[in-house]
Point group: C2
Chain length 260, copies 2
């Protein structure tokens, strides 16, 4: 067993939640819970468990019985699906404030994806049954969750469209544009939120393709690349290049608030 593997298993440090009130405040700030009944949040707190995980830790597996959902306190989490052949499709990559695993609530097929830590993270596990009860009882809560789910559905529609229509440089450009918002013009500088390998996976392409496509953007448009920092001299030139191959108009909102 390698040293790496040991790390993965061992640095999942348990820590009880509910002590300092930090977890409470974080939970209360989740937009999805804005209209929850007071008792709901308390029930969540009582059963909240915050843990630290190291990179590569697998938090849950596609098909696992869904009893908890998760709120990310810090770090990055990759949601993905894996085939028997070993191929893997990245569903999404999430960070602080995002919620995941709540989709396991309705079906009995377990979670619809697997989740792996891709950057050391602190994750709060929350009981699904408490959420389920609240949604069933509180119309406003259900309504909010429905709205959030609808937003998410649109993002997925867009995702399917992009993967069908945009080529590799355009998908990267689109990703960058969504990072620089709401700045809509002039030279800007953005940092890739995570590994280029991960960005590539997130965009459904190979790392090599990502690298080549990015340098094609560099050659064709006014873009400078310094490691993970990318400077875009002319945002509108980039949006011209990208958004012709998209059904949305340019300042396309990235509606993913914290209600994944």
């Amino acid at each position: 067993m390698t040293l790496k593997a040991e790390n993965i298993k061992d640095d999942a440090v348990f820590q009880a939640a509910g002590g300092g009130g930090v977890v409470e405040r974080l939970i209360a700030r989740v937009p999805l819970f804005a209209n929850a009944a007071p008792g709901f949040l308390e029930a969540l707190y009582k059963n909240a468990r915050s843990k630290n995980y190291g990179k590569s830790h697998v938090l849950l597996l596609h098909g696992d019985k869904a009893e908890k959902f998760f709120l990310i306190r810090k770090g990055w989490v990759k949601l993905f699906r894996e085939t028997i052949d070993g191929s893997q499709a990245v569903v999404d990559i999430l960070t602080a404030g995002h919620v995941f695993g709540e989709a396991g609530m309705f079906e009995h097929d377990g979670y619809p994806y697997s989740a792996e830590i891709v950057e050391a993270a602190e994750i709060i596990a929350l009981p699904l049954d408490v959420l389920d009860k609240e949604v069933a009882d509180n119309p406003k809560m259900a309504y909010d969750m429905l709205a959030s789910m609808t937003r998410h559905r649109r993002l997925q529609d867009r995702e399917i469209e992009h993967r069908a229509i945009q080529n590799a440089p355009q998908r990267i450009g689109c990703f960058l544009l969504r990072l620089v918002q709401p700045v809509a013009s002039g030279p800007v500088s953005v940092n890739l939120p995570y590994d280029k390998m991960l960005v590539a996976a997130r965009l459904g392409m190979q790392p090599e393709t990502f690298s080549r496509a990015l340098s094609r953007l560099r050659n064709d448009l006014d873009i400078t690349i310094r490691g993970a920092t990318i400077e875009i001299d002319d945002v509108s030139a980039l949006s011209d290049y990208v958004c012709g191959a998209c059904s949305a108009m340019f300042p396309c909102s990235d509606l993913k608030s914290c209600d994944k």
Copy 2:
């Protein structure tokens, strides 16, 4: 103007709903409305409008202000998104019993896709505000709609996965397998529900690619093709070929009930 074009415009025959009770019965049978309050269905009936449309009629455009949602009584409808460049991504293809356009309810960006009749259809238009009110007031209704939305979200996850991982023959095979269910073994015969061109679009490939990929399936597996009828001698051979490139196990339920 061609003769065809006249047809498209003119055969949208208006007919008031609520007379024969047929529309009522159809609406009442939508699973999504199973738990609706009695007053809700009546409010829907009152404002229901059933119309006939010819092939190629565009029912709604991406971005249109969303005031209605739709229930298909018969025929086929294509949901799609179109870019400035003219490329088009098919979101889904629906038929009798399916509901669409309800996603326009929450956002103010209008409908998230365009809808076009691809086979002469009869469509019932229903007021979105009535649905919205019911969802806001009736916890059970909101809960059901949430469950339905979650199911849909899973189908989209699967869609993204398939387009990322499966090649053309596998995507076709997967499509066929979902048609033959719940028959899980032995020789079966299926009819493509619509044009091969449309199936190709639905699967995100060109008609030429579809044709070639299908004949590759014919050569490699025990499959016979007679026009739109496809005979599969060995379903398990097909599922072996297809499902290795999918995260789901074979008899993979096509959860799209009538609540699109």
